[in-house]
């Protein structure tokens, strides 16, 4: 029998059946690289953001440097790290951490700065020390901005990991790369689709986590009601 593998169809159930282990392994590598990268980036971005908040000069330097890193193309970034790490997954992880820092430092900083001064004063007045203030007051209030950053960083990392195929550690990108070399359409399409699904699932999960971590936001949204849009208000003012 001919089958879709022989015909080299884009969509092929036979491929899914016979090569499922390969797909699972690649997906696992992909998820691992993304999770480790975003995790490390989150750990690094916190002290950087706190430092940047303390001193203006540091803020300029950190934001400038991370922006410069962001303009370096992924292929070039992985290539530049090659002499440092050799052919390993660390190259891809390090590259992704450097990219994620741009988004995360900015968002953590923006989140912390959006905490109203009165709130901070009130907490201090209640006898909160700096650590307790940060952990129990400022961080929860900075959560929406922080999570927005984590979501952007994660989704970008899922798509950028594929480029890691150039050094042999691109997760699903490896399958896309080998499928390209052998003109194996089903392999390329399946890996690409899983990659997009992965990004969407990660985004939805993070959104769910944010909802769970900030139940007060939902309560507030309910009490605030629909509200009149700014432009409607200003239009009414213009008439009156």
């Amino acid at each position: 029998m001919g089958g879709c593998l022989e015909a080299n169809d884009w969509i092929c159930g036979e491929y899914l059946r016979t090569r499922s282990q390969e797909l699972v392994d690649a997906t696992a590598q992909h998820v691992g690289i993304v999770a480790v990268s975003v995790g490390i980036a989150l750990l690094v971005s916190f002290p950087l953001a706190l430092l940047a908040r303390r001193r203006r000069a540091v803020a300029g330097a950190v934001l400038g440097l991370t922006t410069v890193l962001y303009t370096i193309p992924s292929l070039a970034m992985f290539a530049l790290l090659l002499p440092v790490f050799g052919l390993s997954a660390s190259i891809v992880v390090t590259g992704l951490v450097l990219y994620s820092l741009t988004v995360l430092v900015r968002n953590v900083l923006a989140g912390l700065e959006s905490v109203p001064q009165e709130v901070r004063e009130a907490a201090r007045g209640m006898g909160y020390g700096p650590a307790r203030l940060l952990l129990t007051v400022e961080l929860p209030l900075a959560l929406p901005a922080l999570m927005a950053g984590v979501r952007i960083a994660t989704v970008s990392a899922v798509s950028l990991t594929t480029v890691g195929a150039i050094v042999g550690h691109g997760g699903l990108g490896n399958l896309i790369y080998s499928g390209m070399d052998s003109f194996f359409k089903a392999e390329v399409l399946t890996a690409s689709v899983i990659c997009v699904v992965l990004a969407v699932v990660a985004d939805v999960l993070l959104l769910g986590a944010q909802r769970l971590l900030s139940p007060w936001a939902r309560a507030r949204r309910r009490t605030r009601g629909t509200g009149v849009g700014r432009w409607k208000r200003s239009a009414a003012r213009g008439v009156g």
Binding site: L75, A79, I152, S159, V163, M180, C195, R237
Partner: protein
Amino acid sequence: MEALGGAWSWLTDGANWAGEGGVWHRLGEHVWLTAACLALACAVALPIALWLGHLGRGGALAVNLANIGRAVPTFAVLVLLSLGPLGTEGHWPTVIALVLFAVPPLLTNAYVGMRETDRDVVEAARGMGMSGWQLLRQVELPLALPMIATGVRTAAVQLVATATLAALTGGGGLGRIITAGFNTYDTAQVVAGAVLVAVLALTVEAVLAGAQRLSAPTRRRERRRHRERTPPRAPGRAPSGDRHGDDARRSVTIPNDGWGGT
């Protein structure tokens, strides 16, 4: 350190710059590819974004498109297109993949820029009897221009960076120097290629940032000129609390003779 030294001697070797696969040729390919894709993406995205922004519709579309764009790996799109029926058509798979990639930031920024124009100004212009087209061209577009310019800048830098990936599917550009180095286990060449791409990306970023900054002072001067000609507060219009200091901005785009009243 050793690799950097090797990269330096690779870059300073004149033989690597000349000829068919040389740096100059690849640089030309890269710049041409980026510029063409940016122009195409602008031609596609900006009219749609400006029109949607003018109508005030499609906000969800603009935002979601940007998010989806981030989730789709460009490398995968490149490979899919090059394996598809377009694969035999030379540059087209690369061009289409890159245009698809550049559209979301352009669309989102232009749309948001249009929506964030001061609604008071738009209402005022409409009250003066401006038609929809006049409103779009003379009021909303000038006010949204900084946002649109930021979108173009983002798209341009991302394009320079992403055009590198074309090399993975056999396209031209500076990425070819990197992939060629990989295939021959020549680390010095790989690092040299990476440095070239990074420098080009940073140069484009610096040039566009400079251009944006240079265009800002003229706008400010223009604003000042307008303010000097405009009376501080037009007669017959009741002052309202939060509008102080806003007049200067609105006089940039609203013709002065329209402010007398009615």
